[in-house]
């Protein structure tokens, strides 16, 4: 048995891989099923960004709350939301995470600390401040984490939240998942500062930038920030520089991308390939163990898709439930 050079036990390495693999399988499958026309509405896929969700969420438990984005499937899976419930939700079925009333952009499971994917860019940041505030009143050491993309990092509510969290010294963490594009617009065009560390400093917060395709870099940086927040050290910003394999939404022709860009990032900047190469190279994990998890992921997603397709849609009466109908 090789000596483990990683800051995670073998069991946790396998857990992290399982999370990333499950997200990838989920997203690749949704991509294919969407193309067949079976999935209503629109979806935004997280494939390519798995190291961020897994690297951060490995440090969290159910008392910690996250507020996600429109590209939220990966955050949900890493936070422990059931993939079968999620797939049913994406298909708009009655047994989905939100009983078919939310869809891809609004998957939530508060029992898991998942406060919802969000169709409004930047809206999660104040909500995570509220989660952090609630954790502080409860005194349970929980944290609130909000995710935004580089696009939503320009929203007023995000910037206001940085200040509020700093002023109140909240156990709040702001993760900027910088995949280089706000929809089709390059980050280089739309964000005036070069570094999010500078932007954080402007609000009195410490900031860290990591290679978001490197699970271990994310894991390590997130670990320090989360520990500090739990101990009363206050908020921080974490920028994960990453890439997305698919377009802004499914159906996006991505003509704004450079020639050969997608092929290049799939071949050379795949966070899952990089993770596998590292753990196998050191001999901590065997190829067969990786393949076992791959098969397990395929089976789980196959079952989730089959279940979602067969599940009944919500009943007509469900239109009028879960809200006070006064009129």
């Amino acid at each position: 048995m090789s000596k483990n050079p990683f800051p995670l036990s073998k069991q946790d390495l396998l857990k992290a891989y399982r999370t990333m693999r499950l997200i990838r399988e989920f997203e690749e499958r949704v991509h294919n099923e969407f193309a067949k026309g079976d999935i209503p509405g629109f979806v935004h896929l997280y494939a390519g960004e798995e190291a961020s969700a897994a690297g951060i969420m490995m440090h969290l438990n159910d008392r910690d709350r996250i507020a996600s984005t429109h590209r939220g499937h990966g955050h949900c899976i890493a936070k422990g939301v059931d993939v079968r419930d999620m797939m049913s939700e994406i298909y708009g079925k009655a047994d989905g995470s939100c009983r078919g009333k939310g869809g891809s952009m609004h998957i939530a499971d508060l029992s898991k600390g998942m406060m919802g994917a969000n169709g409004i860019l930047g809206a999660g940041a104040p909500l995570a401040c509220g989660a952090a505030l609630a954790a502080r009143y409860r005194g349970d050491g929980g944290v609130g984490i909000s995710f935004v993309g580089d696009g939503a990092s320009n929203q007023g509510m995000f910037l206001e939240s940085l200040n509020l969290a700093a002023v109140w010294n909240l156990p709040a963490i702001f993760v900027v998942e910088n995949n280089g594009y706000a929809e089709s617009t390059s980050r280089n065009y739309a964000v005036a500062v070069d570094s999010y560390v500078d932007r954080a400093a402007g609000f009195g917060l410490p900031g860290v930038t990591v290679d978001g395709t490197d699970f271990f870099a994310v894991y390590e940086a997130a670990g320090e920030i989360i520990k500090r927040a739990r101990e009363g050290g206050g908020p921080a910003l974490l920028e994960c520089k990453m890439i997305r394999f698919f377009g802004h939404f499914e159906g996006d022709q991505q003509t704004y991308r450079g020639k050969g860009e997608v092929e290049d990032i799939r071949s050379n900047r795949d966070c899952i390939k990089a993770f596998v190469a590292k753990v196998i190279e050191t001999g901590v994990i065997q190829r067969a163990e990786i393949e076992g998890i791959d098969k397990e992921a395929v089976t789980l997603i196959d079952e989730a898709v089959a279940h979602a397709k067969a599940a009944p849609p919500p009943a007509a009466k469900d239109l009028m439930t879960d809200v006070y109908v006064a009129y």
């Binding site: 709350r65 507020a67 989905g96 995470s97 939100c98 009983r99 078919g100 009333k101 939310g102 609004h106 939530a108 499971d109 508060l110 029992s111 406060m115 919802g116 969000n118 169709g119 409004i120 809206a123 940041a125 104040p126 909500l127 995570a128 401040c129 509220g130 989660a131 505030l133 609630a134 954790a135 009143y137 409860r138 609130g144 007023g156 509510m157 206001e160 939240s161 200040n163 509020l164 002023v167 109140w168 439930t321 879960d322 809200v323 006070y324 109908v325 006064a326 009129y327």
Partner: protein, 335 residues
């Protein structure tokens, strides 16, 4: 035991009693304590109108002064509500909703439905409404109709201290987001208010005056103008019923319909603009449900479709008057 106290005191008492009863109740807003971070008095203001004055001494950090940053703190109140707290956020003026509207109508209002019933958002957003303070176009609006339009929100607008206390306590205990509208001309008005805690259920209108000839339906400050009009009309033998809706969403249409079935005449009074207002909403519902009872066309008395003007000469023309309400009633009884 009831004693006469102002609406300001009644609201303060409601917050005090709920904070004492339930540790999940927290209060946040701009200057709700006042003087934070400075060298002078803490609790310098207790809110711009003094509603939260004195609570900081009793509850300390459960009162949170916020930066001038409505998007962040209203969103934080909503996030905390989704995580088990019962925040009461003071937004000062309803006019400021514009900078944090997303948090209210896309987040708080939607969570329960959008998450399939698996989330509750027990947040109260208190704000001042209404004209008459010479506060001009951005500090004087009656935007209640904007919020009644949004499913998932509840909208409350008391007309007196007694209702204010009971409705605020009910709002804090309610599991849905509540927009609690306080008319700025009513804070000093004193009525009999019991010392002990009590609630007033939502969707229970108050018949503020009984009458048989015409029904006046309104809420907030306009209740007082309507009663003034009714008192005046009574001298001429016209007997008006005045209904104070108290809550606009949910709304008690049963009391309105029952009254119109008795009187056959309806005047809807609203300090909001005429289009898509509470007045037009109630009018439409009555036309739909009680057309056969109507002896005359429904009349509406509202503010004009203009921003609120500054000059006292103009603002006094903007706000519906008792004389306008009385004239509208006379138009209905002429038939």
């Amino acid at each position: 035991m009831a004693r006469k106290i102002s609406m300001r005191q009644a609201l303060n008492e409601a917050l005090d009693q709920e904070m004492s009863r339930d540790p999940a109740v927290i209060v946040m807003g701009e200057d709700i304590v006042g003087g934070m971070g400075g060298e002078g008095e803490k609790d310098a203001w207790g809110g711009v109108l003094g509603v939260t004055k004195g609570l900081y001494a009793k509850y300390g950090e459960r009162l949170l002064d916020t930066p001038l940053s409505e998007s962040a703190y209203i969103g934080a109140a909503i996030g905390a509500a989704a995580c088990g707290m019962r925040p009461v956020a003071e937004l000062m003026f309803i006019d400021f909703m514009g900078v944090c509207f997303d948090e209210i109508f896309n987040q708080a209002a939607k969570f329960k439905y959008m998450f399939g019933g698996k989330a509750e958002t027990p947040v109260v957003i208190r704000c001042m409404v209404g004209a008459g303070f010479r506060a001009a176009a951005q500090h004087s609006q009656m935007l209640t109709p904007l919020f009644t339009h949004i499913p998932g929100l509840k909208v409350v607008c008391p007309s007196n201290a007694y209702d204010a206390k009971g409705l605020l306590i009910q709002s804090i205990r309610d599991n849905d987001p509540v927009i609690f509208c306080e008319h700025k001309n009513l804070y000093g008005l004193e009525t009999d208010v019991p010392q002990e805690s009590y609630t007033i259920p939502f969707a229970e209108a108050n018949v503020a005056r009984d009458g048989k000839d015409a029904t006046i339906v309104t809420y907030g400050m306009m209740v007082h103008r309507a009663i003034e009009a009714a008192t005046d009309l009574a001298k001429n033998g016209i007997d008006c019923e005045v209904i104070d809706l108290r809550t606009l969403s949910p709304i008690d249409m049963d009391t309105v319909l029952e009254s119109v079935e008795n009187t056959g005449r309806l005047v809807c009074v609203d300090e909001a603009h005429p289009r898509c207002s509470i007045a037009s909403d109630v009018s439409a519902k009555v036309a739909q449900e009680a057309f056969g009872s109507l002896k005359a066309g429904i009349q509406m008395v509202t503010a004009p479709h203009t921003p609120v003007p500054f000059s006292p000469a103009l603002e006094d023309l903007y706000i519906p008057t008792a004389a306008q309400i009385a004239a509208a009633v006379r138009r209905t009884v002429a038939h």
